[in-house]
Amino acid sequence: MSATIRPFGMLREYLRGEKEARVEGGQTVRQALASLGIPPEVVALVLVNDQPQEKDYVLQEGDVVKILAVIGGG
């Protein structure tokens, strides 16, 4: 069971420029981010299959997770 993490903008730097990464399902988004070396606290918004979710959401098979950083504020 696996899901896809798709970082936007500066978060790609954590994947050395890769556009997406595969992670194991059954874990939370927070755990998946940490496993990729992305500090969960720099992620502002998590969209699972284009729906906003919290970082404690447990990943399901085939989920596509978009993650957005906070870049510069208002």
Binding site: V42, V43, L47, P52, G73, G74
Partner: protein
């Protein structure tokens, strides 16, 4: 002059004289526009120690070379004046469509001088410029006035108006435009009210000359293309600034109950996606915006419509007052807009009053019978009106949190959360040293928009006091406000992440002047130093003590949330200032040295 309307409009309200003069080319070359023009006129024309609400103060409204042109978000204008809230420098940026019409009328700046003997509004239709009687508008809400004037003159006319709070010179009264965009901070609305100007109505039909029309068209299209192709576009547009509410809650930056904590146990009710689902009815953009971040909302429970709430309002009126419902926050936002007060300062001063009540310093005898506990939305609604009317306890709070705390005493100065008299906006900075420094040194008081450094804190270690953090804050203080000089919006660069270098060919094609970002950052540094000179000129004994934050951030660790138990040590606060002054070329008391002024070519502004 390429890229400019070409004229400065002066309106002497005392004698009704209206005159125009050409925009000096050297002013455009050296200070570019927007807040660059504002600080120049403020320093050169408003005499030292002028009463902010007196006839000598001026209200200076300026567009920039991007304003009204085919550049993403080119709808920003700057409102500079001597601030009633702080006694120092005020420069408030306002979006919407006002500045475009102003420039089409050929105006780079509008300077309001003196005091009108009776309520008026300024009417501008190209070359037809008149002061008109506003007796029928006086006392009305700012959005009601906008509707009346738009109904009278037509949709093309843009309106900026004050509410009753501006008329009553509430020290944090704002100027409202486009049914929910504001020149918000420092009390610019009180200056307009003191001058007895209820509104400005403007339409223009003239062309703006550009140096190289074909290069301009190409560069403008490139910028819009970059915005439309930005991968963040859809998500950013969906949530706007509310995108950061959940994040701030998570990292302990969401001001909660007067900044006593940085996470709110009921914060989830205020998150962007919840707001979008519950109250947002459409997105709303400013002039020429490809990524409309404004959220227009309807609150069914109160039958009110409001643009917002934005993140800052959710933080300051929501969690900071303990309000648990986004509908309550949105309704309070509507009340602030209509009565005409800044939501950030309102949230700051009401939170202070609530803490006074909960600590027993205020009783119901002091609060006109209001149960001023955190979380009491009805009390918040009533207080907003009382502040605008300066009625009962509202008269005390209308002076801003610094003066209110000085008046009340009893230790309440400790929880008056401000810098230089301006209420801190919505980032709790107990353990975020770059953001704390950004607030301490911001040129208008504790405002976030000059340097938004809190993500940098998280990236490099939030408690660290390192020279690179200080350098980052200084760079942001020059770079971000440059958009307020150019008359454009920074959010396409900040949030969509478009390449900042795309702006340069556009600026050159428009003005015919080649500039690099280094050139523009130098303009930013000059403006920053001039603002500092203004504070030094206006406030006797202005020194580093004016840059200290509220004691809460170095004396009282939060009791809950992600930053529980964490504060910045006072010696680190002082160290931050030492490093900051050194990097800026300022003395240990925070004054630009003669060498720095010489390097920046600003000697003529001293004496």
């Amino acid at each position: 002059m390429n890229g400019y309307g070409g004229q400065i409009l002066r309106v002497n309200l005392s004698n009704g004289q209206i005159s125009k003069e050409p925009t000096p080319p050297e002013l455009a070359r050296e200070f570019v526009g927007g807040r660059g023009f504002g600080i120049y006129f403020l320093l050169k024309e408003v005499p030292p120690k002028a009463d902010p609400l007196g006839p000598q103060n001026k209200l200076i409204i300026s567009s920039g070379p991007f304003s009204g042109l085919m550049i993403p978000g080119a709808g920003k204008c700057d409102w500079t004046t001597k601030a009633p809230l702080t006694g120092g420098y005020a420069s408030a940026s306002m979006g919407g469509h006002f500045t475009a019409e102003m420039k089409y009328a050929g105006l780079d700046s509008i300077i309001l001088e003196g005091i009108s003997p009776k309520p008026v509004y300024l009417f501008i239709d190209d070359n037809k410029i008149e002061l008109r009687d506003a007796a029928h508008l006086w006392g009305k809400g700012s959005m009601v006035v906008e509707k009346i004037l738009k109904d009278q003159y037509g949709e093309e006319f843009q309106v900026a108006a004050i509410g009753p709070a501006g008329e009553n010179c509430v020290s944090f009264a704002h100027i409202n435009h486009d049914y929910g965009r504001q020149a918000g901070r420092g009390g610019v609305g009180a200056v307009m009210g003191a001058k007895k100007v209820k509104a400005i109505v403007v339409r223009g039909t003239k062309s703006i000359p550009v140096a190289d029309p074909e290069a301009y068209r190409k560069a403008g299209l490139e910028l819009f293309k970059a915005c439309k192709e930005a991968e963040m576009l859809k998500e950013w547009t969906s949530y706007g600034t509310t995108i950061v509410v959940s994040w701030c809650d998570e990292v302990g930056a969401l001001p909660t109950r007067n900044f006593s904590a940085g996470s709110f146990e009921d914060g989830k009710n205020l998150y962007g996606p919840v707001m979008r689902q519950k109250i947002v009815i459409t997105d709303k953009g400013c002039f020429g915006c490809p990524s409309p971040c404004g959220k227009y909302s309807r609150v069914q429970r109160y039958d009110t419509y409001v643009e917002g709430p934005e993140y800052e309002t959710i933080g300051m009126i929501g969690s900071n007052l303990g309000l648990k419902s986004i509908e309550d926050v949105a309704h309070a936002n509507y009340l602030c807009d209509e009565w005409g007060i800044d939501t950030i300062s309102a949230g700051g001063v009401i939170a202070w009053a609530m803490e006074c009540y909960e600590k027993g310093i205020f009783t119901k005898a002091d609060t006109d019978g209001l149960e001023l506990k955190f979380g009491n939305a009805e009390a918040v609604f009533k207080l907003i009106e009382k502040i605008a009317k300066k009625e009962g306890i509202g008269a005390l709070l209308a002076d801003g949190v610094k003066r209110a705390a000085q008046k009340v005493g009893k230790g309440s100065e400790k929880w008056a959360i401000h810098v230089k008299g301006m209420e801190q906006s919505a980032y709790a900075t107990h353990n975020a040293t770059a953001m704390l420094l950004a607030y301490m040194t911001c040129d208008v008081g504790a405002h976030h928009n000059r340097a938004w450094a809190i993500t940098y804190d998280l990236q490099v270690g939030r408690e660290r006091v390192a020279p690179e953090k200080v350098a980052r804050v200084i760079w942001l203080q020059h770079f971000r406000p440059m958009f307020d000089v150019l008359g454009g919006c920074r959010l396409q660069w900040v949030e969509l992440g478009i390449d900042r270098n795309l702006y340069l060919p556009a600026l050159e094609a428009i003005t015919g002047i080649h500039r690099t970002w280094e050139d523009l950052e130098l303009v930013g540094e000059r403006i920053w130093n001039l603002a500092r000179l203004y504070w030094m000129r206006e406030i006797d004994g202005f020194d580093r003590s004016w840059d200290l934050p509220a004691p809460r951030f170095y004396e009282e660790p939060p009791t809950s949330g992600a930053t529980k138990g964490q504060i910045t040590r006072f010696e680190d606060v002082q160290k931050l200032l030492d490093v900051y002054y050194e990097q800026r070329g300022w003395s240990p008391q925070g004054h630009p040295t003669p060498q720095t002024l010489e390097r920046l070519g600003l000697q003529s502004f001293v004496n």
